[in-house]
Symmetry: D2
Subunit: 375 residues, 4 copies
Amino acid sequence: MRFLTSGRSHGKALVGIIDNYPSGIKIDISIINKELGRRQKGYGRGGRMDIEKDKIDIIAGVNNDISTGSPISFIIENKDWKNWKYRKEEPILNPRPGHADFTGFIKYRLESIRDVIERSSARETAARTTIGAFAKIFLSALGIKIYSYVKSIGNIGLGNDFKINNNYNLVENSDIRVPDPYIETKIIEEIKKAKEEGTTLGGSFKVIAKGVPPGIGSYAQWDRKLDSKIAEAFMSIPAIKAVEIGEGFNSGKMKGAEFHDEIFYEKNKGFYRKTNNAGGIEAGMSNGQDIIIGATMKPIPTTRKGLKTVNILSKEKEVSLKERSDICAVPSASIIGEAVLAIVIANFIQEKFGNDNLVEIQENMENYLKYYRNI
Amino acid sequence: MRFLTSGRSHGKALVGIIDNYPSGIKIDISIINKELGRRQKGYGRGGRMDIEKDKIDIIAGVNNDISTGSPISFIIENKDWKNWKYRKEEPILNPRPGHADFTGFIKYRLESIRDVIERSSARETAARTTIGAFAKIFLSALGIKIYSYVKSIGNIGLGNDFKINNNYNLVENSDIRVPDPYIETKIIEEIKKAKEEGTTLGGSFKVIAKGVPPGIGSYAQWDRKLDSKIAEAFMSIPAIKAVEIGEGFNSGKMKGAEFHDEIFYEKNKGFYRKTNNAGGIEAGMSNGQDIIIGATMKPIPTTRKGLKTVNILSKEKEVSLKERSDICAVPSASIIGEAVLAIVIANFIQEKFGNDNLVEIQENMENYLKYYRNI
Amino acid sequence: MRFLTSGRSHGKALVGIIDNYPSGIKIDISIINKELGRRQKGYGRGGRMDIEKDKIDIIAGVNNDISTGSPISFIIENKDWKNWKYRKEEPILNPRPGHADFTGFIKYRLESIRDVIERSSARETAARTTIGAFAKIFLSALGIKIYSYVKSIGNIGLGNDFKINNNYNLVENSDIRVPDPYIETKIIEEIKKAKEEGTTLGGSFKVIAKGVPPGIGSYAQWDRKLDSKIAEAFMSIPAIKAVEIGEGFNSGKMKGAEFHDEIFYEKNKGFYRKTNNAGGIEAGMSNGQDIIIGATMKPIPTTRKGLKTVNILSKEKEVSLKERSDICAVPSASIIGEAVLAIVIANFIQEKFGNDNLVEIQENMENYLKYYRNI
Amino acid sequence: MRFLTSGRSHGKALVGIIDNYPSGIKIDISIINKELGRRQKGYGRGGRMDIEKDKIDIIAGVNNDISTGSPISFIIENKDWKNWKYRKEEPILNPRPGHADFTGFIKYRLESIRDVIERSSARETAARTTIGAFAKIFLSALGIKIYSYVKSIGNIGLGNDFKINNNYNLVENSDIRVPDPYIETKIIEEIKKAKEEGTTLGGSFKVIAKGVPPGIGSYAQWDRKLDSKIAEAFMSIPAIKAVEIGEGFNSGKMKGAEFHDEIFYEKNKGFYRKTNNAGGIEAGMSNGQDIIIGATMKPIPTTRKGLKTVNILSKEKEVSLKERSDICAVPSASIIGEAVLAIVIANFIQEKFGNDNLVEIQENMENYLKYYRNI
């Protein structure tokens, strides 16, 4: 599975093409639209979320709700477009610190920062969420499921010893995807406070994949490692500044004897571990445990108060652009995290079990798991 | 620049091929060997470091010490090879938790874990250090330099407010690459203690690139971002479990108003920032500031005491393999971090300024910088 | 520049996304639509060409008629779609020999050959013609132009010693893109005859690129050769069965002393050749001469009379599907040949001179040509 | 399977690395050396063939003669190296027409054409023949075999209606790989004559793959077609100027009713065809028939008599370089054609049936064939 996306934040539509998606997969479009809705939810999102409920329109690649093996293309209309269509504006020349504005204007020798803003916008992630939804539908047919939750926003969050224990319904019922009502309340207050201050908040979240068979990814060459490709994908989500696998940033403080997940065997369970500090990945390969990824998001750069900047051409001091924006987008980022994890895993699954047709892939995977269980 | 590496830990040699390396670059082989030496240094490294001082032998691609534009191949002999050559051994079937052993054996349907150990070994990083040295030589001719230091080992480390202030000679003079003699002493004691306990230690390090022009990488498509490719490369270093850009993991706790690096201009300095929380990368592009990457390494899985495991075939309980190994390899990992950062940046430089010849690339880059300075 | 296309032959629309197209290029949409028109022309095309005059709708990536550096997406509506929308049909199970039908049905485990037909259709080439038009606009700004003509259809064609001598207006004025009125007339009769017989015709064409600087492509690694990538691109055009560079298939009969293009120099002309048997490419690199590519197209598989085949499921003998189709599409194929040659050359130009902005690329190319002229 | 090669014609050695080669494959090194010997054979080859009998030395990736799944590296020593080692020479500045000399010198801004000659040399194909031998060994374990023969040299050759009818032993017994003793004799005379004249000869050859299952490659996206990748690979062989699939260049002259391979079914044979004009590939996919590729090689550019050229720096008229060289290398090229076809097919097989282990791939392929036979 590979893909390209296109689309301006306030243009007609987002467009995506997915190539090499297996045939024979039932595509329920309401599942995809639900994922788009999950991305848009979240206390602290700005006004735009009210304007549009994203919905995809599949142009090709799916026939009678079944994928055909041909490239899938889709469109997500920007409902906001008509408001922008005839807008004339002066060139924007005051770059927002923390955004693509300054460097993008230089790199592409543009005349207005507008052309940067429109693409570097987080709106692009609606397209990736869609592609992730296709990946999830495929993985789901193989028994692989993806979950996420928000771990912290600003200075408030779940403790390092927090265990979610499969209580993902707590997440889905929370406005900010935090599976602890007490912490949730405290965070919402924090967001309100930030809004009053005219500032923004970042935070952190976890994404988990369950049911991934052992042995996708490889230690054999540096660029075939599962954890590398996951890190690449998460760091490509706008505003993400850190990525960790399993205990990640804590791992440096633990000793070998306590960190590593010892290996056990019982006849009815097969091989198993009692811990999962590795986050399901050892030496670039899935080891059969849950894959657990953590990511940290910086605070949103567009603040109501603005930040100090200069006019790129005149060099005069200015205050940065203050377009309509969110206070905190960490809950949305966790959904995008699910999408990119699904895409990466789907790719490694296809590499190991085939690309063409769901039934063929299922058979090949089952064949492999039978071998594994009987080793 | 692209490359492949090959080689077993105890085989004849490591082999590497670098394709698309520009012509016209003076290759001083002593610089490369010095990098290999830097990788091997470090209090807490095991006996192997004494056995071999790695040295490369260039097979092709460099003529009269000048790169020719043709693919470069090199060999690093394993001096230890003769000791292993005629060794006969029973199949190894007790996988080390934390290593590739278990899953690699399954994935490739092997008969002994030996075939996994030999490739998933950190020895492979000598080849990548070599390739990184080639990248550094190229970047150096463009005024781009790479540095690193160790930030923490186990529970001991530099404070979050530590600033290195260009004191990189403190790093190079330290046995463990820690630029603070007091902390260094405490860490060395910690390593001694870990050795006595038969356990191992992880830690964290920083890698810095100076002189990178603004505008490499792109926000335009998810897989063309500089930070993504850096995260991919760092996560591919054995035992790395977390990667951060700039303030990374702290960024989630900071508010928009304090995190973002405001933009200023002065006639003789051009555009500049007073802070660098973004670590030199905004929206997937270099912004002209130092690029600062942090990474966390888990403790080494091969411990003298061994860990609980099972025989993959008989399923009997066993203790994991206890081959000669290190207590702590964080200082070495920081050198490999330099190498992979150099490789990623070199690739983005070539993408923007050309691939073929150093003088041509220098001219194209100078032309771009002139435009930038006069915008 | 990289791209993906999507779209069914009778679906809503074709969709394309072009990534990494330089910024600062003036996009005149009428130029693109003209290319789409050139693809649709040609005596011997079926009824569909009358139904639709293809027109593109740019969704993103171009602002105020200037490319922005962000991914370009476009749509070409299928005007024929409404006629197909509510069509119910039985599964198609009688594969057309020469088409994707048989193997595509097997490979993707489909229920009707319809899902193969819809994608393997030559309609996809409208999307590639569009992308080629973008490539041509870019190349044109660098002084590089692409031309083509039809050399033969069926058994009738121009002699091997035919020289076009820049008379490309003869081509554009011909209904079948044959630059010789006498041969043109004979070919049109041949097409009429084939139509009466219920059969189809193939043929051959040439594509020429003028103004390509010496030194794109490389001999250094097998997969970086200009001629290889050209061969790949031409062979990917539906129904193309042979590709040649320069004298190509004749070259095997010529002796070294007569084949190779000797090198001369005159002060006001610089280096030059008196012949161009190599077709402008030596050892995988452009040598500064016209690049000349030849390709052969097999006869169209969908014939009015049908061909012998079997029902894939019942195994009963059947006659192949007889959908509305063309008698001969060689003139169209020559336009698609222009498109794919433009795309390949644009990619190599970007590799050598940069990806980001037209002015930057122009400056880098000019800088290189200055060096070349003064060597 | 992907690979890089490196090595100068007169340097120490050729080096190759193959990544992603499946584990569990028995590697008989004598098979590989035999392939290297086949490449070196052929009436009309120059003196070098006598100097060295190429032999590979495997550095890593194979253990106890079984592939391990780790990258394979190998070396082929240049026996001729010692003769060259201490050779001092003036810069070479008179480029050979037809070679990389002129453009390579410009592109890489070199000081002597020597650095071009050394890499653009056909010697590189020994490395690719080796990689092709690995691919053949893998394919052979899946029942896929590769053959070739020389069709013509200069103006003499087999008729267009020649059928080899599996008489490949005639090829292997011929000095010039021509499976017709009468034609063989005439060609050898032609080569003698060319030698006397101080000129060189080209020609054409065919490569055939038997046992390829239907359904590798795809029509779904332009760059996933089997014939495209084959055309790319063949055109990358030095001196190849044309590539055709099946009837290729003749196909343009045939009518639809006679060209296309009609489809039949018999219970004990399954689906079959009575003709194979398509050369086993329809719409970018294998269709289960023999894959038949033709290629044309231009005459060797290095001629004893020399060709007209100029000194690149002084611009004085000169005669081109006359290094030791062959009169005709078409028989060798056919062996390299086998190698590159094997590599391309192996890649598509891995894409469809998995990458990791031979037994797993065999099982997945068998599973697919069972489905195909029972459709």
